[in-house]
């Protein structure tokens, strides 16, 4: 314990957030009695300018060598207070935070208990601070290129914005075309403009922008590195069509005899050929061979496409290609899919083709869809006279079958569907079962009201209990909670507003990026309110539904926000690194290589160094570990694997943590 320390303690009231449960004055008083503490005070809002200036003034007036702030979580304001201290000439790493809000005042009701605990937490921070060393952050270069994972509207928008600022961007899209879910939509709420009309120009922009490189039909293989300096490996899957030669004439598609594959773009409502372009406006307009369906790949025969291709673009021998590139920032825009309805037997989705999901209905209503936009039943192609829409299928579900969250977009698209049906086919009766109708958004409620008032859509508050086939009708049994009665509707079609979930690929990607993910597989933001487009992993940004359910305008807004963050990052030439990195004491290091084995970043290497030794030899060569501070991320795995304690972690040193333990157990 260095007695040379002069430490100031600042206890925040956080208005009443802390002060209501913790006697802040008592905390300050208790801290004033601690060794090394020369100043202790409490204040209403330490994070405010007034609070920060108190810190700055005290540092100057008392010559403080370190500062303990008893306040909210360091995850909230550590950076704020470090900056404040730095501006008064103190090393920013001589600041320690005692989390007396989230870890104390907000969880304890008893004022005595909370105050006692706050004092312990403050002493713990002080004990650590006593052993802190001033740290200086090193710098690293920023690679001026961004990677966008996912080529839906979120990814496209982020890429366009980043490219607009003058930086190179690569989009990695796993399907053969960019466009994503939005490309499958017919009209968009609340304006009812056609999705393709507004999306395809953006797709073309992306394709034509010279700063943007598209890797479609490609998947992420691995990502290593750190903010400003990621290295990504992208697997460009073999299309078996040479993109440079292909003219997109589509003749191969016409000639292909294998026509039994389910058309994914149309949600499996019709079929496609083995060599195919997903849809007319696909970008790139280059087909891909589905090797599982292709007769050539299955039997070695056929080859009609190759024979008919005048551009000689068909290449059965094409192999997957691994592309390795450096990026300064990464945007995750992996999007969503409707959940599987297997577990919702009551709606008869798997038994009855006339029970469809909303996304399937989108395709049915779409002029370029399987029915050319004609509203017909998938089972018999007949025009339906009564359609029942069911909302919240798998959303807001606490039974465990579905998702606990609200999928957010269903109320609006269901209103859209109902309205479109009534607009185009006024003869069709439309019922909507809902739990609540949620329409917060610009012109949203007006939109919904139009559906009810202008288009006479029958909204029934209640849930559907069962959908069963009765002849060529679907009997929908449900409850009307307002009328307080059970009702039965004989419908021709049932449309289920299935919950949406993050694309399952995101888990793999999150692992690669070391980005955290919540229990619903949505990527976690760095802060739910203040940093909603950043992942906790520096340099990784979130765009679109991968972070949480949202509609198109919100997705685009977040995509642009993420892009702004990326641009802000790429605009820098150098980045300050985290100085809390591992460090090996060469006088203790055995060179045993254990640390190297557990380092996830390959940050540890070894060198032979000559040391003075007692005895007649005078010197000897020893193998010692050396940490590359630019690569080390400061996890500390090496520190525990090192038996001699040669490896330590700056900012979280063994002695600091043990001092914290001691202080807690005092």
């Amino acid at each position: 314990m260095s007695s040379l320390h002069k430490i100031g303690v600042f206890v925040c009231w956080c208005g009443s957030n802390i002060a209501a449960t913790v006697d802040v004055a008592a905390v300050a008083e208790a801290m004033r009695a601690e060794p090394n503490v020369v100043y202790a005070t409490d204040y209403q809002y330490m994070c405010s300018e007034g609070g920060q200036s108190r810190i700055r003034e005290a540092i100057k007036e008392y010559g403080l060598t370190g500062v303990v702030i008893c306040s909210c979580s360091p995850r909230m304001h550590e950076a704020t207070f470090r900056k404040a201290a730095q501006s008064a000439g103190l090393n920013p790493y001589m600041v320690e935070i005692a989390n007396i809000r989230e870890h104390c005042s907000w969880i304890h009701k008893d004022r005595m208990d909370a105050t006692a605990k706050a004092i312990v937490l403050a002493r713990t921070a002080l004990a650590k601070l006593n052993l802190n060393q001033p740290l200086t952050a090193g710098e690293s270069n920023v690679v001026k290129r961004a990677l966008v994972i996912g080529g839906g509207i979120a990814g496209i928008q982020s890429a366009l914005d980043i490219a607009e600022a003058g930086y190179e961007v690569d989009i990695v899209e796993k399907t053969p075309t960019i466009g994503g879910r939005m490309a499958q939509l017919d009209k968009t709420f609340p304006t009812l403009d056609c999705a393709a009309c507004i999306l395809t120009p953006k797709m073309v922009d992306a394709a034509q922008n010279e700063k943007i490189t598209l890797y479609t039909y490609s998947e992420m293989e691995s990502v290593s590195g750190f903010v400003g300096n990621f290295t990504a490996k992208i697997r460009k899957k073999a299309r078996h069509v040479n993109e440079d030669l292909c003219t997109g004439c589509g003749l191969c598609q016409e000639k292909c005899p294998s026509r039994k594959a389910k058309n994914e773009f149309n949600m499996g409502l019709n079929t496609r050929t083995a060599i195919y372009i997903p849809f007319a406006q696909a970008i790139p307009n280059v087909p891909v061979i589905d090797t599982e369906q292709c007769i050539h790949f299955k039997t070695g025969k056929c080859g009609l496409c190759q024979m008919n291709c005048s551009a000689k673009a068909i290449d059965f021998e094409q192999q997957d290609e691994i592309i390795e590139r450096q990026y300064g920032a990464i945007v995750v825009a992996t999007g969503f899919r409707p959940i599987s309805l297997e577990r919702f037997d009551e709606f008869g989705y798997s038994q009855n083709p006339d029970v469809v999901t909303s996304l399937e209905f989108e395709r049915i209503m779409n002029a370029a869809g399987p029915t050319k936009g004609q509203l017909v039943r998938p089972s018999d192609g007949k025009h339906p006279h009564c359609i029942v829409f069911v909302q919240c299928v798998g959303s807001r579900d606490t039974s465990g079958c579905g998702k606990p969250y609200c999928s957010k977009i269903c109320c609006m698209y269901t209103a859209k569907h109902a309205m479109l049906v009534r607009e185009k086919y006024p003869d069709v009766e439309v019922h909507v079962f809902y739990i609540d109708v949620r329409t917060p958004g610009k012109n949203f409620d007006e939109f919904y009201r139009r559906a009810v008032e202008q288009y006479d859509v029958d909204y029934i508050k209640g849930m559907v209990g069962k959908v069963s086939s009765h002849g060529d009708k679907l009997q929908v049994q449900g409850s009307d909670l307002i009328a307080d009665k059970q009702i039965i509707i004989d419908a021709d079609m049932v449309v289920l507003a299935a919950a949406i979930e993050p694309d399952p690929e995101v888990r793999k990607i999150a692992t690669m990026l070391t980005a955290s993910i919540d229990t619903n597989n949505f990527l976690t933001e760095a802060h739910p309110k203040l940093r909603p487009v950043e992942s906790p992993t520096a340099g990784v940004f979130l765009s679109g539904v991968c972070q949480g359910p949202k509609d198109i305008p919100e997705t685009v807004a977040q995509a642009s926000a993420a892009a702004a963050k990326v641009i802000g990052l790429l605009a820098k030439d150098k980045l300050k690194r985290n100085p809390c990195v591992a460090h090996s004491d060469e006088m203790l290091c055995n060179g045993c290589s254990a640390c190297e084995k557990v380092c996830p970043y390959g940050a540890i290497s070894y060198m032979d160094k000559e040391f003075r030794v007692p005895g007649p030899k005078r010197t000897e060569i020893r193998r010692i570990a050396v940490v590359n501070e630019a690569v080390c991320q400061g996890c500390g795995a090496c520190t525990v694997t090192c038996p001699s304690g040669a490896m330590d972690l700056k900012g979280f040193s063994t002695k600091q943590i043990m001092a914290e333990v001691d202080a807690i157990c005092r």
Partner: protein, 151 residues
């Protein structure tokens, strides 16, 4: 009753090592959500569960802790890719050794708590604190010197 006096009634002392990225944030969320757990639980922030050295755990018991819990990201979700996997092996072996030496096995615990699991954080801490309270004071792994020189 003064603050000093409140310390004198028996309350278990529980040290929780929480990784910065998941469990510490989970504890923050528990706080933000006003989910209570006993004040006996005191949290130490570490960058990753793999930073927790067995020395720290023994140190806590030496100094009079009655229970030690290590909380980290779920396996597969480590911010540093693999830190919690190493922590898992280390802690499994260490806990097994403590058990082998006759130390009550329930005094040590590892939980994987994500940043989104405020509820799990609070539930876990409530449960753990209850277990430790039932076990009573740690007599087998304490250092009497830390108790003899009274405050």
């Amino acid at each position: 009753m003064s603050i000093e006096e409140t310390k004198k009634e028996y309350k278990p002392l529980i040290v929780a090592f929480c990784c910065n990225w998941c469990s510490y944030a989970g504890a923050d969320l528990a706080g933000t959500s006003r989910l209570s757990y006993p004040a006996d639980v005191k949290i130490i922030r570490v960058p990753c569960s793999c930073r927790v050295n067995p020395l720290f755990i023994l140190r806590a018991f030496q100094r009079g802790a009655d229970g030690v819990i290590i909380a980290g990201c779920h396996p597969g979700d480590c911010h540093y890719t693999s830190g919690n996997y190493y922590a898992r092996r280390r802690m499994t072996l260490l806990f097994s050794m403590l058990d082998y030496l006759g130390i009550e096995r329930a005094r040590t615990r590892v939980e994987w708590i994500s940043a989104a699991e405020g509820v799990k954080f609070s539930t876990t801490m409530n449960e753990f604190a209850k277990t430790i309270h039932e076990l009573g004071e740690n007599k087998k792994l304490e250092d009497l010197r830390c108790k003899e020189l009274l405050k």
